[in-house]
C-alpha cells in the first residue's frame, strides 16, 4: 500500500501534464473504492472537491497571466483587480488535480488500515516510534468529543464566541485535557514496560502475492513515467502564455494504468 501511495504521489508531483494528474486521481479513487467502499469515501470526496475547488479558484483570482481573457476587474481593486484568463483557470485546475490526487492517494492509510496494521508493517527498528504513534492516534477521537462537550458546556455557562480571543475558553480546556490524557497514556505505557529495549510483535504481516503484485505495478508505473520524460516522449505542459491541450503518450498512459492494480488486489482482500 505504501509503495502504491508513493508511486501515485511521485507521478502526480513529477508530471506537469494535467491529463496524467487526472488519470492518477481517477486510478486512486477507483482503487480506494475497491478497498474501502464508496460509502466510506463520501466525506473524503466532498473534502477533496472543496479543497481542489479552492486551489483552482485561488490561482484563477491571483494569477492574471495568459492571452485568453475571459473578463476583467478594474486594476484599482486591490488583490483581485486585473484580467481573468482561461490559462490561469487551467493552471488552477491542474493544481487542484494535484492536491486532490495526493489526498486520495494517501487516504488508504486512514480508511483501510488500523493503527496496528501500520505498526506491523514498520521495520523492527521503528517499532517503538510506531507504538507511540499508534497510541497517540487512539487519543484523536477523544479530543474531538472533548471539543464538542466543552464548547457546549461553556456556552451554557454563559460563554459566547466573540472574536478569536474568546475561543481560549474552549481551546485551553480542550488542549489541557488532551495533554493530561497524553501524560496518562505515557504513564500507562511506562507501567507496561514500554522503553525496556528491543521489542517483538504478536503478529507480523508478511507480504502476500497481491502485495508483491502491487509493489511491482507501482515500480513499473514510476519507471515508465521517468523513461517517458527522459526520452522526450512525454512533453512538459505549461498553460502560459496561451493555452494548449496536453498531449498524451502511450508509455505515460501505461504508467497511469499500472496504478489501477489495487482495484484487483484490494477487491480480493475486501
Amino acid at each position: 500500500m505504501a509503495a502504491w501511495s508513493a508511486a501515485c504521489l511521485f507521478i502526480v508531483l513529477f508530471t506537469t501534464n494535467p491529463a496524467y494528474k487526472a488519470m492518477v486521481l481517477a486510478a486512486a479513487i477507483a482503487s480506494l473504492a475497491a478497498g474501502a467502499g464508496l460509502h466510506r469515501m463520501r466525506g473524503l470526496l466532498l473534502g477533496v472537491v472543496l479543497i481542489a475547488a479552492f486551489a483552482t479558484l485561488l490561482n484563477f483570482i491571483s494569477a492574471h497571466l495568459g492571452a485568453t481573457v475571459l473578463f476583467e476587474l478594474p486594476e484599482s481593486i486591490p488583490a483581485i483587480g486585473g484580467p481573468y484568463t482561461l490559462e490561469a483557470l487551467a493552471a488552477g485546475l491542474s493544481g487542484g488535480l494535484t492536491v486532490a490526487a495526493a489526498i486520495v492517494a494517501a487516504a488508504p492509510f486512514s480508511l483501510m488500515l488500523a493503527s496496528h496494521d501500520v505498526m506491523d508493517a514498520l521495520p523492527a527498528v521503528l517499532s517503538r516510534t510506531g507504538a507511540a504513534i499508534a497510541a497517540s492516534l487512539n487519543l484523536v477521537p477523544s479530543v474531538s468529543a472533548s471539543f464538542v462537550q466543552v464548547s457546549e458546556a461553556q456556552r451554557l455557562r454563559g460563554w459566547r464566541p466573540r472574536g478569536p480571543r474568546s475561543w481560549a475558553e474552549v481551546i485551553v480546556p480542550v488542549v489541557l485535557t488532551s495533554v493530561e490524557g497524553s501524560i496518562q497514556l505515557a504513564e500507562s505505557m511506562e507501567a507496561r514496560g514500554f522503553g525496556s529495549g528491543p521489542r517483538t510483535a504478536l503478529k507480523s504481516s508478511p507480504l502476500r502475492k497481491s502485495d508483491w503484485l502491487l509493489v511491482a505495478a507501482s515500480a513499473a508505473a514510476v519507471i515508465a513515467i521517468v523513461i517517458a520524460r527522459a526520452t522526450g516522449m512525454s512533453a512538459d505542459w505549461y498553460p502560459y502564455p496561451s493555452l494548449a491541450a496536453p498531449s498524451v503518450d502511450a508509455v505515460s498512459l501505461a504508467a497511469c494504468l499500472f496504478l489501477l492494480a489495487p482495484v484487483v488486489a484490494w477487491r480480493s482482500r475486501a
Partner: protein, 448 residues
Amino acid sequence: MAIARIARLSYWYPGAEQPALRDVSLLIDAGLTVVTGPSGGGKSTLLRVLNGLVPHFHGGRIAGAAEVEGHDVIRTPTRILARTVGFVFQDPELQTVYDAVDREVAFGLENIALPPREMNARVEEALHAAGIAHLAGRSVRTLSGGERQRVALASALAMRPRLVVLDEPTSQLDPEGASMVLDAVRNIVEQGRSAVIAEHRLERLLPHASASVIVEHGSTSTAWPVTPSLSAGITSRSRSGPLAWSLAGVSAGFGGRIVLDSIDAFGYEGEVVALSGPNGGGKTTLLRLIAGALSPMSGKVERRPGRIAYLPQNPTALLHRPTLRSEVSLTLERAGEPEPPEAILAELGLLEVAGRYPRDLSCGERQRAALAAVLPGRPDLVLLDEPTRGMDAAARTALVGLVSRLRDQGSAIVLATHDSELRSALADRVLHVSAGSVVESESHSVSA
C-alpha cells in the same frame, strides 16, 4: 510473606512544599488489600510507589525505602518493575495503545521482547483470567467501559505479575461496568494472585479483602473502613412549583439515527427528576434537549426563561482558570449573581484550596471544583449528567446537600444517573429512558 515493604517513606511532588506521603511504613501481604481514604489524601501516590511511577515517572524528592518482591523500587525503573507489578488506571480510554483486544493485551509482552510463539498462550491465559476470552479479536473501540477496563486488567495479567495494583478502576464506569471489573478482581484474587485496589465502592470488596489501608493527609493507618450512607443529612423535600420545562412529541437524534422517538416529559420548579436507563438509551440527549443545546427533529421543547446550569459528563474538562476561586467567580459574573464565590466553596469543603490551580487538585477535589464552577448562585434550571461518576463518598455527600438546597430554593433539577443511591436520596420522580422512549417509573412517584 510480604509482597511489598515500605519503610519510613516520604515523597514530595516536584515543586511541592508539603509531602504527598509522609513517613509511611507498610507491609503488603498476599491476597486482596483495599486502600481507601478521602480524595487528595495520597492513595494514588502510594499505589504509584508500588510500581515505581513515583518517583521515576513523576520526579520529585523521595526519602525512605520501598521494596516489591525483592526489587528496590527507588533504584529500579518502572519499565523493569512492569514484569513484577501490573497496574490498572482509572480511565479505560486513556490506557489503550492498540485498537484490537489481543494486540492490546500483548503490548506489555512485546515491550519485554517475549518471543512471539509464547505470546499467544500468554494472551489467551490473561483473557481467561480477566473473564473476557470472548472479546479476543474485537476492536477496543466497540467495547463498553467495563469491558475496556477488563481488557486493561488482562493486559496487566499477561505479564504474570506477582502483584496487581488497581487505582480506582471503576470510578469512570456505570454500575454494570463496575460490577464486571470488581468480579474480575475477586476472581484473580481467588486464583491466588495478590492485588492492591483503591476503590470507593467498598461494599463489594470488603468481604473478600485480607487487609485494608486508610490513606489520609499522606499518612497511612490500617483500620477497617466504614462505608458511609448517602442519605445522611438530607433536607426535607419542599412542594414543587409551576411547570419549569416540558417536551411534547419530541423526536431527536444524530446523523439520521433517532435516539428519542416522539417523547413527552416535563418537570416543575423545586422538583428533582432523575433519568435512569442503560448507556446509549438517550439520557444525555434528553438533557441536551432540555438545555436547548440540541434542536429537536420534531415536537416542541419549552422551558421557563432563566439561568441554566449544566454539568456535563467529565466536568473537570471545563476547568481552565488560574485559581478555583476565579473559576467560580467567572460563572457568577456571567450570571450577574451577587453571591461571593466563597459560599459554594465552603459548602463543598473547598475553601482551603480556593487559591490553587484547579487542575492540580486530586481527582475527587476536581469533581467538587467542577460542581462549584457550574452550580454557584441560584440557577433556575439545573441539569446534571452522571454527576457522581468518579466521585468519592465526601463529594457525593456534598453533591446531595447542594442539590437539596437548590431544589428547596426553587430550582428545577434534572439529573441523569446510574447511581441508584443518588436517585433514592434525591429524586421526586424517576423517568426511565431506554430505546428511544421515556416512561415514568411507577415505584418512584411524586413525594411532594
